[in-house]
Symmetry: C2
Subunit: 270 residues, 2 copies
């Protein structure tokens, strides 16, 4: 049975050579996968892969296309929050039968879909991750997952509902119309390219806004920029500190991050 996957870029564009590498792998290794990149993925409009109207239209028309089984996000960047709120009321029945897979900035969209019970939001590698070290494996893992093969998911998923977010994305989501109710959820977070003082600041904000969650697990905090002085605590010490202060159980590490090992984490119950 054929799995029809459409790649979209709700934030920044994907480079053509990355898309070509993903298409080549799909063709060589996944005869039962029909993969296409929407032309929107390659547009450039200031920061974004096309203006808001173009990215919104690509998202809504693809989500409402019953001939597509899964929407796979090509890149993160920034910008899915600018169209997520507008997209939700335009999504019909066909949009509910789909998997939506990506991470980082796409978390705004995954969160909004989860809030409204539309389709199956899944945290996992982007098509554009193929250019990372070990990125072939990350992309292969997603293609296997989307075509129904057995692949390892984030370890330690249990009977509790789970979500996974970039920490900054989650910090910007809380309190907005896009934010799902995460009561009794295990919340996985990861971060990239933020100073540790900014990670501390984000944990302050997020833990105060996540009362009632089952707990927080910390993914990788990578590419921390050099600062003029050491922060004085590690990322895990920061997570433990703010979890303890807000009464949220700290549940240990998670295998997510801006790297090719970034685990697949379906939102909700297993």
């Amino acid at each position: 049975m054929t799995t029809r996957i459409a790649c979209l870029c709700p934030g920044k564009p994907v480079l053509r050579d990355r898309a070509d590498a993903v298409l080549a792998m799909a063709q060589a290794e996944f005869p039962d996968v029909e993969l296409r990149f929407h032309t929107q993925c390659f547009l450039e409009q200031g920061h974004f892969a096309g203006d808001d109207a173009t990215r919104l239209d690509a998202l809504v028309s693809t989500a409402n296309d019953p001939g597509i089984d899964a929407i796979w996000f090509g890149m993160g960047g920034y910008g899915s929050n600018r169209i997520a709120g507008e997209a939700i009321p335009l999504l019909g029945e066909a949009a509910c039968d789909k998997t939506y897979l990506g991470y980082s900035d796409n978390g705004y969209l995954l969160g909004a879909l989860y809030t409204h019970g539309i389709g199956k939001p899944v945290h996992g590698p982007l098509a554009g991750d193929i250019k990372r070290e070990g990125g072939d494996d990350a992309v292969r893992r997603v293609l296997k997952y989307l075509s129904g093969q057995n692949v390892p998911l984030e370890s330690g998923l249990d009977d509790r509902s789970t979500v996974a977010f970039n920490l900054m994305t989650l910090a910007m989501l809380v309190g907005t119309d896009l934010m799902p109710d995460l009561t009794d959820h295990v919340v996985l977070v990861e971060e990239v390219a933020e100073h540790l003082y900014a990670v501390d600041r984000l944990f302050f904000h997020v833990t105060q806004n996540l009362k009632g969650v089952a707990g927080i697990r910390l993914g990788r905090v990578s590419d921390v920029p050099d600062n003029d002085r050491p922060f004085g605590a590690t990322a895990e010490e920061i997570a433990r500190y703010w979890c303890a202060k807000s009464g949220i159980p700290y549940l240990g590490r998670a295998d997510i991050g801006h790297d090719s090992a970034n685990a697949i984490v379906p939102f909700g119950k297993r």
Copy 2:
């Protein structure tokens, strides 16, 4: 009548030469001002001017000292949010008779004081701003203000309650225990050293979390780092966009920012 001012650093330390320059100006030009820098201001503990307990103790003991008229923050940096929540219940009657003046990271503390009706929180230049171009004037303006002389405040203040915050600080404040109720307030925001996509992201978050305010005024957005591509909108276009989208009146520019022109803005009614 003597005005007794104590400088504290709830975030990062102030450099000794900046403190000395401020003390020299106070001695030369303000015979009626008694100014001292708490020893805590010069400590270094990782990122902070002393550990949390030390900064908290300096803040609480100084605020509760009836022999001090005003607490002036020496630097911003990061860290006042780590002690503000603990400080509030420890503040007594003498703390309520004081002015608290600063900006940037100190906004967590100004916000918490305002939330609890403790003293007079004021947005304005830091002692450490003396090293900026024109910083002498900024510091002189604060010393005049704190000693009861007439100085120009932010222009356009009207009968509505007003607050002023660094945008990132306000974004991290919303939804927390420190956050004041800003219903019907005019909210002034400024930002420094953030990419425009990050400013856009912060406006998305803040406008969604500030429903019911009277309006937003935009201060300076300075030292925007170069990005690999232009964002495609100016800071003011970003402010207008998100204000319109969330139904918050955009009320024009404000004369605040990370510079020596940074206006004095008393929190609350004029």
